[in-house]
């Protein structure tokens, strides 16, 4: 197709010839495409960010619940053993009793939130253990008063995070007991801090459910929900299985008393929310592209009028209608493609700057770049068609008379 090559060459020449006007005409497309690229990149970055953060806070877990209005049964340590037996690939299962009170260390007394559970509770948070070790099953079963705390909290309570083996006094519900620190966790991530930033400072402790329950008056081994820890990809499946296993174990088939909920459901919801927001923004970007396209059509019509004589000359020396149509279509398409390429560059720069500013990962899918380029060509072809046909249909004598 040497002819197409000629059209493209002449189109580029024409664009250079009208340098300033070319730029102004492309502006609409540049902005539209830049918006699409930036929105897609930001949307993806945001999705990844939120997912990471939620996994960071919560790890990958599911919850199995028993509905007390439908049965008088509750979960017991036997149920935990049963789940561990029947579902060997799970990381563990834990009850979760939770209390708020005060923790007293050498450096002062602070509000405290205590999460109690089995040794599997270590998988509940994404932040790593950096000193010591998590309490063991043996420590849980023997009811030892041990706890794990966050690095920052250790610094508050002891003035240092070198506090393994040291003791704090924990008071909840008017009862007090002394707990030994056995492990220190890394601090929680940004999203967690964001959620808790307006609350009073509170230290976060994790302790075995056995000692916790007996010290502060909770029922021992009598729970209404269990937490199941496992990998994200099998989470949903294992939760459903746990529900069936426990329903059978408690003889509650048909009662619909045990239900399960997994974090996988939540990431699905995030996808839905983010997807909706992206769709809206892409619609806005699309509208700006259509407006840009109308700008292109307008300027192409002006160009056809200005170049009536040229069209007449070309036709008089033998250009067919198809050749003139192709010439003007290539001009429009090259115009919008150049706008698209500029827009892609601008969009990437914008996305980079914005992601950097709000500290999000930059994800630009290659499909969005290819898509944007193809779409910008399409805009040129669609909005260039009418002016091109108008040019091609001119009668050479009328066009030469100008």
């Amino acid at each position: 197709m040497s002819k197409l090559g000629e059209y493209i060459k002449s189109a580029i020449k024409q664009m250079k010839h009208n340098g300033y006007r070319t730029l102004m005409t492309m502006l609409g497309i540049v902005i539209g495409i830049a918006a699409v690229i930036a929105v897609v990149a930001l949307g993806n970055g945001m999705k990844q960010y939120v997912k990471d953060q939620i996994n960071g806070i919560a790890g990958n877990y599911g919850i199995v619940m028993i509905d007390t209005s439908k049965t008088t049964d509750f979960f017991t340590p036997d149920d935990i053993s049963l789940l561990e037996e029947e579902l060997p690939d799970i990381k563990g299962a834990s009850p979760n009793d939770y209390g708020e009170g005060k923790a007293k260390g050498p450096r002062g007394t602070f509000l405290a939130t205590v999460q109690s559970g089995s040794e599997a509770l270590q998988y509940a948070f994404g932040n790593k253990l950096i000193k010591g070790s998590y309490f063991t099953r043996q420590q849980v079963e023997s009811g030892q008063r041990v706890c794990v705390m966050l690095q920052n909290d250790a610094k508050k309570l002891f003035g240092t995070d070198e506090c393994l083996g040291k003791e704090i006094e924990l008071s909840i519900n008017g009862k007090s007991a002394t707990y030994t620190v056995v492990g220190i966790r890394e601090n929680t991530n940004e999203l967690y801090n964001f959620f808790t930033q307006d609350m009073d400072y509170s230290v976060t402790l994790e302790a075995p459910y056995t000692s916790f329950a007996s010290d502060y008056g909770y029922d021992i081994g009598k729970w209404y929900q269990l937490i199941l820890f496992t990998d994200q990809d099998v989470l949903q499946k294992r939760c459903d299985e746990a529900k069936v296993i426990l329903t059978n174990a408690h003889g509650l088939r048909g009662a619909n008393a045990i239900s399960s909920y997994s974090m996988a459901d939540m990431t699905g919801e995030i996808d839905t929310i983010m997807g909706g927001a992206s769709k809206f923004l892409i619609l806005v970007a699309f509208i700006s592209l259509v407006v840009g396209g109308i700008g292109i059509m307008n300027i192409m019509l002006v160009s056809v009028t200005e170049r009536t004589r040229e069209i007449g000359i070309r036709k008089s020396i033998g250009a067919r209608t198809g050749a003139i149509t192709m010439q003007f279509l290539s001009e429009a398409a090259i115009l919008t493609l150049s706008g698209g390429i500029l827009g892609i560059i601008l969009g990437i720069v914008l996305a980079k700057v914005m992601c950097k500013m709000i500290n999000m990962p930059l994800i630009i899918p290659p499909t969005s770049i290819v898509g944007a380029a193809l779409f910008s060509i399409m805009v040129g072809l669609i909005f260039g068609l009418y002016p091109a046909r108008k040019a091609a249909k001119m009668k050479p004598i009328d066009a030469l008379r100008v």
Partner: protein, 233 residues
């Protein structure tokens, strides 16, 4: 002499109805291969309409136009484009070069539309420009050249594809007398090389250089004579 152009009872009527203008009124005309013909007439005589007809830029209201014995009077736009491309080289009063293209590119243009490959195209365009003495102006744009030079580019464009007919519409109308002489010399040389040349003009001085002079007024042929003063250069 073989018939090249044969016009039979052609009429061209503008604004049919009350204010109709008969630009051509039952014209009959035959031009053979290798002739040098001038069509002379005042403005409004119908000579431009006749030239548009001969150049397949316009179609007659009635009558027939045969080119090489083929009826070309009622064809589609694209068929007419192809005829213009293959059969006719135009030389216009206003040169009609494309301003954004160089001399070379202007000359190549009809060859592009004919689908000639790049190498062959450049060779033909090169030869055409050389034959009109513009060896040194190939990369110049029209606005960098004098009127005479521009008209020579236009002639090169007209002959590059070697069409049988050269149709020159007031070829010297925009030129000073020195350039006019130059252009007429080239046109006559092209004739002597065997091309059929039709010159449309209002200038008796130009017409007098042709071998056959057709006078047209009010859309009708008034006289069609062999020029007694014609001399080969």
């Amino acid at each position: 002499m073989k018939k090249l152009v044969e016009i039979k009872d052609v009429c061209k009527i503008y604004n049919p109805g009350e204010n109709e203008v008969r630009a051509l009124n039952h014209i009959n005309l035959t031009i053979g291969e290798g002739e040098l013909v001038a069509i002379i007439g005042q403005s409004g005589s119908g000579k431009s309409t006749l030239m548009n007809m001969l150049g397949c830029l316009d179609t007659p209201t009635s009558g027939k136009y045969f080119l090489h014995g083929h009826d070309v009077s009622h064809m589609t736009d694209d068929e007419q484009s192809d005829i213009r491309n293959r059969e006719i080289g135009f030389i216009f009063q206003g040169f009609n070069l494309i301003q954004s293209l160089t001399a070379m590119e202007n000359v190549e243009l009809p060859l592009i539309y004919r689908g000639v490959g790049k190498r062959e195209r450049e060779r033909l365009a090169d030869a055409a420009l050389n034959s009109v003495g513009l060896e040194k102006r190939k990369t110049h744009r029209p606005n960098e050249m004098s009127g005479g030079q521009q008209q020579r580019v236009a002639i090169a464009r007209a002959i590059a594809q070697a069409p049988p007919i050269l149709l020159a519409d007031e070829p010297t109308g925009n030129l000073d007398s020195a350039s006019s002489r130059e252009i007429m010399k080239i046109i006559k040389r092209l004739y002597s090389e065997g091309r059929t040349v039709i010159i449309i003009t209002h200038d008796p001085g130009i017409a007098a250089q042709a071998k056959r002079i057709i006078t047209i007024s009010d859309g009708m042929i008034q006289s069609d004579i062999i020029n007694p003063d014609y001399k080969e250069d």
